[in-house]
Amino acid sequence: MEPFIHQVLAGLATGGIYASVALALVMIYQATHLVNFAQGELAMFSTYIAWSLINAGMPYWGAFFLTVGLSFVLGVVIERVVIRPVENSPVLAVVVVFIALLVILNSVTGWIYTFTIKTFPSPFPGQPLFGNKYMSSHEIGAIGVTLVVLLLLYVFFRFTPLGLAMRAAAQNPESSRLVGIRVGWMLALGWGLAAAIGSVAGMMVAPIVFLDPNMMGGVLLYAFAAALVGGIDNPAGAVFGGFLVGVLENVLGAFVIGNELKLAVALVLIIGVLTVRPSGLFGKVHVTRV
């Protein structure tokens, strides 16, 4: 029983990180109905910014919040400069631009920081909290941070005028424009938020997987699976999906299929959900009139 509990708890910890990235994906999907393939690399790039700041002598939390702010700006700039021109193009053009962003971020990071693996500090104490023997403090901390992000987002979208405007812009752009919402900027804000959430995820995952330009490849795949399982238009569903995928991945990896096939779990989940129940567990079922 003990190893099982251990795997479930470890799964929850990694699941928290998948949940954050999934949340970022949902953010962009809700705003633009696009799936951002560059989300992982964006988070990776943000984490490198944090690494530079910390190495320059900044205290951890100072660097943390500055990175979140910088990532927000980066997200907005990318939307305005790169995504805006292809907004109404065919899907293929959009996917190609996302992939281009992915490789550019990846190679530019490799260019600046080299491809050698770096360690990244954790803000949480080294010894386990409350003397428990199952989870490190970093894992508990990462889950806590994910939940705080989710809560903040909920409050933002539910109780602020800006959040309401963003939801309106996503749901019905034409009518929103008529009541005076600047829809274009709402989309850019959505990108900024997604980049900021992604940067949090990156900084939480980096102490576990170490910092290198390819660190988010697997994470992004699990995050896709998480977002799809939870329903790609439902933020809370995406977080639930993240935890679920994290636990599934760890438990199946440890007891059933072995660590070598962990990514196949994500592949099977993605294809399975897309073909059997494309709206996920909690997503809205969309019906289109032909």
């Binding site: 696009l34 053009a93 996917v95 190609v96 281009a100 490849g217 795949l221 993605i270």
Partner: protein, 324 residues
């Protein structure tokens, strides 16, 4: 086809045959890879360019083809030329099967599913229960084939690279002629009809499900054959040479070369083979930065790719000649 363009193709083919005798061994090897990529790109173009189904995981079919060839040659002693049709058949089946669930996916979601396939494939190849065949992380090393003896009897001593180039050229010509025939016929038109408006296509009596999964299968077959040829040329297969970036390379190739264009496959292949070599001299990371910039630049400025630009230039020249 007009007599003029037929003569043009004949001259081009002669030049292509003469190429390995004019350049160094290493260059012949590089041009072999260009032909390999061209076949793979034609495959991806059939699916993405002509049929409108986005695939970000075609590296997976390339890998399956490559492993087919390597396993057959290494474990079962099958001659290299016989592995090509087997690799094609296996990939045809694999592509057709993957195309069945893909029928329910459109645009972005298909991109997502194939993305997952491309990312997770290297791990599947390392799976230890398959190690007996795949050689695990180590991969498989294979022998480069010698030129058949009868060439030497005719006084034409070919070295291995020259022979492999000519062999690949022959396969490529066959595949391109087949592809050209497929795409201009009934099935090709059905594919394009589905891409442009699948509801209208269905109403015209096109069997969407069949044509779409067939397109997936044929596309995978082309890419698999390219994979087998590539494995023989490189003499080595290993899981990490078929990572996600291979799939992206193929995507770069069709976007730069030109979507829904047969010559575009060749332009794209030249691009993905030679541009990284040039860019490598700047920095190890530079090729991908350049690929990325080219991708964005082409989507914005030249959505029809190099093939589109060539078409436009030819049309303009033709008009000028008529005017004078």
């Amino acid at each position: 086809m007009s007599r003029r363009s037929l003569a043009g193709f004949a001259i081009l083919l002669l030049l292509a045959c003469a190429l390995p005798f004019m350049v160094s061994e290493y260059r012949s090897f590089q041009f072999t890879l260009v032909l390999v990529y061209a076949i793979a790109l034609l495959g991806l173009n059939i699916l993405t360019g002509y049929n409108g189904q986005i695939s970000l995981g075609h590296g997976a079919f390339y890998a399956i083809g490559a492993y087919c060839a390597a396993i057959l040659m290494d474990k079962y002693g099958v001659p290299y030329w016989a592995t090509i049709p087997v690799a094609g058949a296996v990939c045809l089946a694999a592509g057709f099967l993957f195309g069945l669930p893909a029928l329910r996916l459109e645009g972005l979601y298909l991109a997502l599913a194939t993305f997952a396939l491309g990312v997770s494939l290297p791990q599947l190849l390392k799976y230890h229960h398959l190690e007996e065949w795949t050689g695990g992380v180590q991969g498989i090393t294979i022998q480069k084939p010698d030129a058949p003896a009868f060439f030497a009897e005719f006084g034409l001593a070919l070295d291995q690279d020259q022979w492999l180039y000519l062999f690949t050229l022959a396969v490529a010509v066959v595949m391109f002629v087949l592809g050209w025939n497929l795409l201009r016929g009934r099935i090709g038109r059905a594919m394009v009809a589905i891409r442009d408006n699948h509801v209208a296509a269905e109403a015209m009596g096109v069997n969407n499900a069949l044509i779409k999964s067939l397109a997936f299968g044929v596309s995978a077959m082309y890419t698999g054959i390219a994979g087998a040829l590539g494995a023989i040329a490189v003499q080595f297969v290993a899981p990490d040479s078929f990572n996600f970036f291979l799939s992206i390379t193929l995507l770069v190739g069709i976007v730069i070369g030109g979507l829904a264009s047969i010559p575009g496959a060749l332009y794209g292949a030249l691009f993905i083979q030679f541009v990284p070599n040039i860019a490598d001299e700047i920095s190890k990371a530079a090729p991908w930065a350049i690929f990325g910039l080219f991708l964005i630049g082409f989507v914005y400025l030249m959505p029809a790719g190099v093939a589109g630009a060539v078409r436009m230039a030819v049309a303009r020249l033709g008009r000028k000649r008529q005017n004078t």
